[in-house]
């Protein structure tokens, strides 16, 4: 008998911030994390030391960790976490922080992710990403995540009959959303012709299937709803969350993520299903993983994402607004901050603070994360359903 999990009653997520993304930067990860913290403090109108908890994610903080960053930034938190989970960092940090605040271990937790991107950062990151990657993936063509996702895409296409055009539809819809966002890095409308004729990168992936690495930071604050109200901050509630690591280890190749293990509990806890959310912020470093999220989070059955994509409109004004900021495919992938992109966008949509296009009357939204191709598959998955605060 599995004990039911406690809800997140009385917890607020607020002050979504973004340190503007840059293709390359000479700044350090410390700078990006610090500027995110500064934006969080300014946005909340609180004193720096009122932040008594921090949760940090970064790939490029080495040789430091969250600990060293505290001295660098002059912080004295009574609760500190370091979440090295790549694209799942945002959801996982949210879970950790919410419980810490609920239990009284911290009053205001700053959840943030920041990474720099020097000209050689991406190459160095993928060359030493993990022991398994260094031993058994990188020496094979040194394609980085491109080659890993090429395998998953190739396998998915052959198993379920997905066509390049199906992936293209989603990429084009995301780009439309991105063009409404002031900070988009990809500034041109994407047509199907552009998508299909783009330079091949790692068959079957083409240029616009791949995110652009960049520098940047994102963050949110987690505190009690009482505190948020007292500070006059618009906030969202957490209805449900899940996380899972190394799901389905016996699958020979990844065709589903950890969401599929936990999806029933996820919606039971939320009290609503996929049909009731007003938008989906999925982790989109490559379109095939978007397809898996649509399936594994119950928007359609396994293998039906291609048909689902053909039948739906994923733009902000469509029937399933999807990656409403444009996602990483439009804004860029700022390292671990890519794992926060959906979270900050969801909080913005549900609190009326959109930087780009707003989903009309959005009351509930789903955020999903996916990260860490340690060897042959993404190991971390997570998801959260957020809801607008009651009036």
């Amino acid at each position: 008998m599995v004990r039911p999990r406690q809800g997140y009653d009385g917890i607020a997520v607020c002050v979504p911030v973004t340190v503007p993304y840059a293709r390359y930067s000479e700044r350090s990860a410390h700078w990006f994390c610090g500027r995110a913290l500064a934006a969080l403090i300014a946005g909340a109108g609180i004193d720096k030391l009122e932040v008594d908890g921090l949760c940090v994610s970064s790939f490029t903080l080495a040789p430091d960790t969250a600990v060293g960053l505290m001295q660098y930034l002059g912080m004295s938190p009574r609760w500190l976490d370091h979440v090295p989970m790549g694209g799942a960092s945002g959801v996982v940090a949210l879970r950790r922080a919410a419980r810490a605040v609920q239990a009284g271990d911290a009053e205001i937790v700053a959840c943030l992710a920041g990474d720099t991107n020097h000209v050689d950062t991406f190459r160095n990151t993928i060359a030493s990403f993990s022991q398994f990657a260094r031993d058994a993936v990188y020496p094979y063509g040194s394609g980085g995540p491109n080659s890993s996702f090429a395998f998953l895409t190739d396998h998915y296409m052959r198993s379920y009959g997905a066509r390049a055009e199906d992936f293209g539809r989603l990429c084009i819809a995301q780009r439309d959303n991105g063009l409404r966002h002031p900070a988009t890095m990809m500034k041109r409308r994407l047509t199907m012709e552009d998508y299909l004729n783009a330079r091949p990168i790692a068959d079957p992936l083409r240029l616009f299937d791949c995110v652009m690495p960049c520098a940047g930071a994102d963050g949110v604050l987690v505190m009690t709803a009482d505190r948020a109200r007292a500070l006059g901050l618009p906030y969202v509630r957490i209805l449900s969350t899940i996380e899972r690591h190394n799901a389905f280890p016996d699958d020979p190749i990844q065709y589903r993520g950890g969401w599929a293990m936990d999806v029933d509990e996820f919606y039971d806890m939320a009290g609503i299903g996929p049909a009731e959310v007003d938008f989906l912020q999925a982790y989109d470093d490559y379109p095939v993983i978007n397809f898996m999220q649509l399936e594994d989070l119950g928007f359609c059955a396994k293998g039906e994402a291609p048909a689902f994509v053909r039948a739906h409109d994923f733009t902000i004004d469509g029937d399933l607004p999807f990656n409403t900021s444009g996602g990483q495919l439009s804004l860029g992938q700022a390292g671990a901050a890519g794992g926060y992109l959906g979270l900050v966008e969801a909080v913005r949509q549900l609190t009326g603070q959109c930087l780009g296009g707003a989903v009309p009357d959005a009351r509930a939204g789903l955020v999903s994360g996916f990260g860490m191709i340690n060897y042959d598959r993404g190991l971390c998955s997570g998801a959260a359903i957020l809801a607008a605060a009651d009036e």
Binding site: S128, D135, A136, P139, S142, A150, H155, D376
Partner: protein, 413 residues
């Protein structure tokens, strides 16, 4: 179908010469176990002694039952391609020069999935045979070929990087007067070597081996005496920039150990030929070989040392000979490290006793020259580093791995 390699052409000096680079060579200590297996051409992975789970990538404890009981065992080398890609972009200089590059995700029949370099003629979803091979960084990688390889599979542009196929390459065979020379020259010629320079010292001395070599196609005799620094230097000045594979078959075997020896003349000769000879060759031919490691499709690729298996453990009946071979072996490890930046492989072939005049008093089994030549050709094609040729050498290698003290006491081969 495997795309045919264009034939080697005369070099155009106005064209850019591709400089040697290496694929990423960083590995964990446990992954170097793969390199040890690849160096010998074995397909062995870690297997848990408790639960039998085959592990890949390598690790320090069993990923299934967490036992501290992993050992390297030969495992089934077949698998099925689950997914494939052709890279059109790479973050690494070595691969950037060689795009497009084909990769597969292969389900190994022995258990784990693995990323592998994929031969061009692998069919989608098809069965493949895997091998652990050394790449140009000298580290182990998995390569996959179809179960029934094309006749021209040796041509595969990508997998050729892991081997040192003599086809289209120019070879220097150091000593034309040894009993192995005709067989080696003939085998290299049949394997498609473009030109075979064969060295000979003391041209006034009649030699049946040299006469046999002289008549072979694509052979050019060149003066070379490895005991003479000037001779080695002069030859390197003439052909050093053309040699893509160097086969050092220098050989000076005499009986005898240390205690009952009247003088040190013979041991000095052995050192001159085996150790200093190798050193002279390394000084004069090494720089050009290393610099030309990526020079076109047929760039410099290998240095072969034919060594006695007694380089590994001293045979007192051939005591000083064994010692000189051990000195050469040690120097070969230095050479290997120094040629690695050029991607040039050093292959040591450890031979048991040969069927020749110097082994008259040694009981069989003894090696026939064509056996040695076949083994060396296989070692080159597969890109091995260590090759034990014949039953005696194989047994000594096994016994050494098991108990070096036992073989030191009981060597009677």
């Amino acid at each position: 179908m495997t795309t045919q390699m264009p034939p080697p052409r005369k070099k155009d000096p106005t064209q850019r010469t591709r400089l040697p680079t290496q694929p990423p060579g960083g590995r964990s200590r446990e992954a170097l176990g793969l390199t040890a297996m690849a160096a010998q051409g074995r397909f062995a992975l870690q297997v848990c002694g408790e639960c039998g789970t085959v592990q890949y990538p390598p690790r320090q404890l069993c990923g299934s039952c967490l036992a501290d009981a992993l050992g390297w065992r030969d495992v089934a080398d077949t698998g099925r391609v689950l997914a494939e890609t052709v890279l059109r972009h790479s973050n690494d200089l070595f691969f950037r020069e060689r795009l497009p590059w084909r990769l597969g995700m292969v389900q190994l029949d022995c258990g784990p999935p693995a990323v592998a370099h994929l031969a061009e003629d692998c069919a989608q979803g098809g069965q493949v045979r895997l091998a652990l091979q050394l790449d140009r960084a000298g580290q182990a990688v998995l390569t996959a070929r179809p179960l029934r390889a094309d006749a021209d599979a040796g041509e595969d542009r990508q997998l050729r990087e892991a081997g040192c196929d003599p086809k289209g390459r120019r070879v220097l065979l150091v000593d034309g007067r040894t009993v192995l020379a005709p067989a080696l020259a003939e085998a290299l010629g049949k394997a498609g070597a473009r030109q075979i320079f064969v060295g000979h010292a003391e041209p006034w001395k009649r030699s049946a081996a040299l006469e046999a070599v002289r008549g072979l196609p694509n052979v050019e005799l060149v003066p070379l005496d490895v005991t003479d620094s000037d001779s080695v230097r002069e030859l390197a000045a003439l052909i050093g920039g053309k040699v893509e594979i160097l086969v050092n078959n220098s050989y000076h075997l005499r009986d005898g150990g240390a205690v009952d020896r009247a003088d040190v003349n013979t041991p000095r000769d052995e050192i001159e030929v085996h150790y200093l000879g190798l050193l002279r060759l390394a000084r004069e031919f090494g720089p050009a070989l290393r610099a030309r490691g990526a020079d076109g499709d047929y760039g410099a690729s290998a240095w072969v040392n034919l060594l006695s298996v007694y380089a590994l453990v001293n045979n007192p009946a051939l005591g000083t000979y064994s010692a000189s071979q051990a000195a050469a072996l040690s120097l070969s490890h230095c050479l290997r490290a120094e040629l690695r930046p050029g991607g040039v492989r050093v292959l040591n072939a450890f031979l048991g006793p040969l069927e020749d005049e110097w082994h008259q008093l040694v009981p069989p089994p003894k090696l026939e020259p064509p056996t040695v030549a076949r083994a060396v050709l296989r070692g080159l094609r597969d890109g091995l580093e260590d090759l034990h040729v014949g039953p005696v050498a194989e047994e000594i290698a096994r016994r050494l791995a098991e108990n070096p003290k036992e073989i030191e006491r009981e060597i009677r081969l």
